[in-house]
Amino acid sequence: MAFAVATDPMAQTPFTNDIRTLRFLAGEMTQGDLGDKVGVTRQTIAAIEQGKYSPSLEVAFRIAHVFGKPLEAVFQWQQD
């Protein structure tokens, strides 16, 4: 299940992500907890989750590492 909700279509990233689901499966981890583990703010995690902001490769890998998943299990390229 992917969550990529953005109010501004122009701001939509070209990929979806499963961060919200993975957080839920990881003991209902909060955005703040994930942000602390990754080294970004809660607001940045929220922006990534909503598809408003494209994280750097490093942050993307860090997020995947927190959940113990490969990158493609967290982020999926959105086909046209």
């Binding site: 501004d8 701001a11 080294g39 970004v40 703010t41 809660r42 607001q43 940045t44 929220a46 922006a47 909503q50 408003k52 902001y53 994280p55 750097s56 942050v59």
Partner: protein, 140 residues
């Protein structure tokens, strides 16, 4: 609202008020045709001093009220938003400096020149703050 955004709001509101008051008065005096008698370097320095003190107090209050809840060190998203704000404010600064140089070249009084360059710096800083707050509110 993130700690960084709170600090930006505090800086914007506390910084804008004294300058708006001073430059509003100065603008009205200029419009009325008595700018040279109403404007003074001393008045400008007073406004800058008051603005600075108010800004410092406001930022310290927000920082103390939110101690331990955040960091002013930007993460990558905040850094990108900050860079956008700096870029836009830099263009405003350059435009203001060019206009001030033009005013000096046309022989305007030194008091007006000093006010113009100070207003340029303040406007550029306010622009940076507004762009950053807008970016943080929008999310990217």
């Amino acid at each position: 609202m993130s700690f960084r955004e709170k600090i930006l709001w505090a800086t914007l509101i506390s910084g804008t008020a004294p300058y708006l008051w001073y430059f509003g008065s100065a603008g009205l005096a200029l419009a009325a045709g008595n700018g040279d008698t109403s404007l003074s370097i001393g008045g400008l320095v007073n406004a800058l001093f008051v603005g600075l003190i108010v800004m410092i107090v406001a930022v310290v209050v927000v920082a103390v009220a939110n101690r331990g809840r955040g960091s002013m060190i930007p993460d990558e998203r905040e850094h990108r938003i900050e860079s956008r704000g700096i870029s836009i404010s830099y263009h405003m600064l350059c435009t203001g400096v060019v206009l001030t140089i033009g005013a000096a070249w046309m022989g305007w009084s030194i008091v007006i020149i000093v006010h113009m360059i100070t207003f340029t710096f303040i406007l550029a800083e306010l622009t940076r703050l507004i762009v950053e707050i807008y970016g943080l509110r929008r999310g990217y």
